[in-house]
């Protein structure tokens, strides 16, 4: 075959490939991957109570499941615009979260303290849940986004700031006996209005007055401090342990502050306003876990 003919064939082939490619590109629906979200949930947060000192911000978050296993399973709104300095200037700020289709098991308002990480325990309001005093009651109401243009704009949340308005504190020492389990994930200390039901993550949320998951692991002693509300009666102060799965459904109580009269039972603490109660000491014996 002559070289001129070969070249013609090659050029024809190339032009055919290019033409077909252009036709495909023009006529076919091209996938552009990720796009803007149009579906969303929105509403207002109705703030009650006094603004706690050291308030950094409040946001609304949605999660597919409750409790979320991880802070990262929360999809946050922007920061609520409700305060100027230490004063509440807008007691019912609006919020919105753009979300893809799905059913979200919980929508909640979460308070964050200055210079601290987000703490799921600092929930100040949950959609569908009311307060009795500072205690949350009822089950969260799920919300469902059915299609990519669905807008649910009446997801209003009542928030009780007194729940995190902590004007007093309790302090003590946690003593760890025995060998720490290898699979220790995180350890915390919490003060509760009542003893939570074992294996009921709702109870650990609803009944907690203060919770700090920052207890250093693999040590012998730890001095803790919990900020609490002086109007609360704390019936249970306990050390909580979670393994490396970090699953909030797998919280274990590994020690509690005992009743001085009856050490087998939890002790009760009432904190006067503006004061501190010391020596709320707890012993954890890993050999009995």
């Amino acid at each position: 075959m002559k070289s001129g003919m070969k070249r013609k064939i090659l050029l024809t082939t190339l032009l055919s490939i290019l033409s077909i490619s252009i036709v495909i590109l023009i006529t076919c629906q091209i996938d552009h991957g990720l796009g803007p979200l149009h579906s969303k949930i929105s509403g207002r947060v109705y703030l009650q109570g006094n603004l706690p000192p050291h308030t950094d911000e409040i946001r609304v978050a949605a999660a597919l499941t409750f409790p979320p296993r991880n802070i990262n399973e929360l999809l946050f709104s922007d920061m609520l615009q409700f305060k100027s300095g230490s004063k509440i200037t807008n007691p019912s700020p609006e919020w919105e979260i753009y979300l893809p289709e799905g059913t979200y098991g919980v929508v909640a308002a979460i308070w964050k303290e200055d210079n601290q990480s987000w703490n799921i325990s600092d929930v100040v309001g949950v959609f569908g849940v009311t307060f009795i005093g500072n205690v949350l009651t009822g089950l969260p109401q799920p919300v469902t986004i059915r299609n990519e243009h669905d807008v649910l704009d009446t997801i209003n949340i009542a928030a009780n700031l007194n729940r995190v308005n902590r004007d007093a504190k309790i302090e003590g020492k946690i003593t760890f006996l025995g060998k720490w389990p290898e699979n220790t994930g995180i350890t915390g200390v919490g003060a509760f209005f009542d003893i939570p039901e074992k294996n009921d993550p709702f109870d650990y949320f609803y009944k907690n007055a203060a919770l700090d998951y920052g207890v250093t692991t693999f040590i012998k002693e730890y001095d803790y401090m919990l900020r609490v509300n002086s109007s609360d009666t704390l019936k249970y102060i306990a050390v909580l342990w979670i393994d490396t799965s970090f699953d909030l459904n797998q919280i274990h109580d590994i020690g509690f502050f005992p009743d001085p009269e009856n050490p087998d039972n939890p002790g009760m603490v009432v904190v006067p306003a503006g004061s501190s109660v010391n020596d709320i000491n707890i012993t954890v014996d890993f050999s009995k876990m």
Binding site: L10, L14, L25, A63, R69, S117, W118, N119, N183
Partner: protein, 754 residues
């Protein structure tokens, strides 16, 4: 031997061994005949090699030759010529000539190879005492070279076809054709290799970390490790692109020769050899980003662009050769706060002594300033960053220097000495960091390596590596440590087409006043060539990676995340097995398929808990299995080519029965190439399946990676004009949550080479 003849015939090699050439006496050189610059080195060598020096033949000959292109008859520069079953070799100069001296009398086989040409074996080359034997070789150009010389798999030069580990090689020509802007971009279409931003994962070994820290792939320049002392991260921008001669990627556990960090594989960048008669290269590239596909995502009215310029000059003056390079890269970034300003300088100097020993000095300097962020503002503004990230960024200066001395004591014994130093100075870090609280990471290394052929069927590689490191900051405290690691490997030619490798390395590493550990990393490999076109290979080896000081001790808050230390973090370790086959179908087609399994114990991964607290833990027992395929074929007199590769992996955390994060199960690429005279057109489609498991925002929408890229090139004399259109469909995707990948961009480039 018969198979070698067949191979040679099929590759249309024309070679001659002439005895009727005018014979001349060659100058005889012994190791102690002078020319060694350092007396201390001499003393050390004499002590080490006294026992071996008797092996050196005092009455040797030499082999010289000319290597040419079979079609054009023009001489070929940079062709590797190795004498089989010896440690002797050379490469051709600009006139295509090579000269190997100190060859003991006898008959030899020459292995002549160059990327882009079929490898040729020249048999029955006779070396006579005091005489020079001349050889003429013509190489046939090929778009596929399935058997180039590599240096990384066995820590010495060997043909790819005789390696028992899976090795990928990409040469400077192909890197240039890919119009890569960084080293890592040139590896995007390698089977088994997946890049997430600057994190490299070989066979699923690594996931994602923000600063590419704690990599499971060892990065080396000319065989010298280049991982920063603090983060143990890869600085891909460390060297100018024009420095690169080729990149070798060894897949699977490499700790038996290279120690910690090589548990997933090794990337070795081989830098250019100084050109005998001077070579000047200049490359410039200017690119522009398109608007985002969705108008509401547009975040600036400015035209976003990037520019790159590289310049290099190399030359051999007598026994001294040098290669100097500089490059500049500047980009506005395609999204907010992703600007880059980067300078590179490098220099390589070679000196060949009369006793055939070589001294090489290489130094590279990088000054990099770039913006940084953790996550986008939100999915409706994915090209903007949160206000608190707008001033964030990273400024880093890095210096790498190495000195290598290669001393061939005889045809059967050689020593190599390597000294290296790497300093990485993070001058400022992300906002939460205070620059005054971070001290430069410093690492210095020394290595002595011996290669000894005690028997024609055995090649022993042995040596000891010592590495000392210092790093610190208020965020991960201050640490000093060292590693001492002897290693030994034997390559045994069992049959002419079957060889085995057995080796091990013992790493003792210690963080002074903190902890220490000792790890043995054995390896065994087989290579069997049932025919000239088929290579079967298999290897099993152990790997490990010591926990970095950063992973153990990091304590910092950033963007809502709180990192806490884990002083109990241990080294992770693995066993890797693979079985592969490379089949040459015709002179213009081949395929390679590999199955592999790697088991990990104590795998270190960042774990994020419900408080946003990050801690590195080694709680994962993982198993990664997979299959890789690559193939290439050319038709119509190499005018039309097709390159195909895909990888399937099953990366499982078998303790928790979940997929390991940030590893796509399937990824691959198809490249169509059309060459017409001086013009070339490439269309590339890359695909990676949706990542199953992520760690930070698991609820976010994730999509597969689908990229269509076009590249064109026209050559005219010393000029090459390049055009590229990347992400032609303007496809939007994230590899890591809330970090949008590059949108559509095009570039124009010009390469001058003379």
């Amino acid at each position: 031997m018969k198979s070698n003849e067949l191979f040679r015939r099929k590759h249309r090699c024309i070679n001659e061994t002439t005895d009727d050439r005018p014979k001349r006496q060659t100058i005889k050189h012994s190791p102690a005949s002078g020319g060694i610059p350092d007396k201390n080195v001499i003393i050390l060598l004499i002590a080490l090699c006294a026992a071996c020096s008797i092996l050196q033949a005092s009455n040797t000959g030499s082999i010289s030759g000319l290597v040419m292109d079979s079609e054009s008859n023009s001489p070929l520069f940079g062709v590797n010529v190795m004498i089989k079953n010896t440690l002797l070799g050379s490469s051709t100069d600009n006139d295509g000539r090579f000269f190997i001296e100190g060859v003991p009398p006898g008959k030899y086989v020459l292995n002549v190879s160059r990327i882009g040409y079929h490898t040729v074996l020249v048999e029955n080359v006779q070396s006579l005492p005091g005489q020079e034997t001349a050889v003429q070789v013509r190489l046939v150009e090929t778009p596929i070279d399935i058997n180039p010389i590599i240096v990384t798999a066995g820590k010495h030069p060997q043909a790819l076809g005789s390696a028992n580990q899976d090795v990928e090689v990409i040469g400077s020509q192909r890197i240039s054709e890919m119009q890569a802007r960084r080293v890592d971009e040139s590896m995007l279409t390698m089977p088994g290799v997946y890049m997430i931003e600057k994190n490299i994962s070989i066979r699923g070994s690594s996931g994602y970390t923000l600063l590419n820290l704690g990599t499971r792939v060892l990065f080396m320049i000319d065989g010298v490790p280049v991982l920063t002392a603090d983060l143990k991260s890869i600085t891909w921008d460390m060297l100018p692109l024009l420095d690169i001669e080729r990149i070798e990627v060894v897949k699977g556990a490499g700790s038996a020769l290279y120690g910690s960090a090589a548990m997933g594989g090794v990337v070795n960048v081989i830098t250019q050899t100084p050109s005998p008669q001077g070579r000047f290269q200049f490359r410039t590239q200017a690119g522009m980003y398109d608007d985002p596909y969705y108008k509401e995502w547009k975040w600036t009215d400015k035209r976003l662009h990037y520019e790159r310029a590289d310049i290099s000059y190399s030359r051999q003056v007598g026994r001294l050769g040098f290669h100097l390079s500089a490059s500049r890269f500047e980009s506005t970034g395609y999204m907010e706060n992703t600007e880059v300003k980067q300078w590179n300088l490098s220099g390589k100097f070679n000196y060949q002594f009369k006793n055939r020993s070589t001294l090489t000095l290489y130094a590279a300097w990088l000054d990099n300033v770039e913006g940084g962020y953790l996550q986008w503002l939100n999915q409706n503004s994915p090209l903007k960053v949160p206000p608190f990230n707008r001033e964030d960024g990273l400024a880093m200066k890095t210096e790498q220097i190495y000195l290598k001395y290669h001393l061939p004591l005889s045809a059967k014994f050689a020593l190599a000495f390597r000294f290296s130093r790497l300093e990485s100075d993070f001058q400022n870090q992300i906002t939460a960091y205070d620059p005054s609280k971070v001290q430069p990471g410093e690492g210095s290394g020394m290595e002595i390596q011996g290669d000894w052929l005690p028997h024609p069927l055995h090649h022993l590689t042995f040596g000891t590596e010592y590495r000392w490191e210092k790093s610190g900051s208020e965020y991960f405290e201050y640490h000093k440590g060292y590693t001492l690691a002897p290693y030994l490997q034997d390559e045994w030619i069992i049959l002419s087409n079957l060889n085995a490798t057995l080796g091990a390395r013992l790493d003792h590493y210690e963080l002074i006043d903190e902890s220490s550990d000792t790890r043995l990393s054995p390896k065994f490999g087989l290579n069997y060539r049932p025919s000239t076109r088929t290579t079967l290979r298999s290897s099993i080896g152990s790997g490990f990676r010591a926990a970095t000081v950063f992973e153990k001790n990091l304590k910092a808050d950033y963007a809502g995340f709180n990192a806490i230390p884990n002083p109990n973090l241990r080294a992770e370790h693995s066993w890797a097995f693979d079985l592969g086959c490379r089949q040459s179908l015709t002179d213009n087609a081949f395929f390679d398929v590999t199955v592999f399994q790697t088991d990990y114990w104590d795998m270190i991964e960042p774990v994020i808990n419900f408080l946003g607290t990050i801690q590195f833990q080694n709680y994962i027992r993982a198993r990664i299995r997979g299959l890789e395929f690559s193939g290439e074929s050319w038709w119509w007199h190499r005018r039309l080519g097709l390159n195909l590769n895909f990888s399937w992996i099953d990366p499982m955390d078998i303790e928790h029965n979940v997929t390991l994060p940030y590893r796509p199960r399937f990824f691959g690429s198809v490249i169509g190439i059309f060459n017409l005279g001086p013009a070339s057109l490439q269309a590339e489609y890359r695909y990676a399946s949706r990542i199953d498991q992520v760690q930070i925002n698991p609820l976010d929408e994730r999509v597969p990676l689908k990229l269509l890229n076009f590249r064109a090139e026209v050559k005219w004399r010393m000029l090459t004009l390049q055009l590229a259109l990347n992400n032609a469909l303007n496809y939007n995707y994230t590899q890591v949550e809330r970090r949008m990948a590059e949108i559509r961009h095009g570039s124009v480039g010009l390469l001058v080479d003379f």
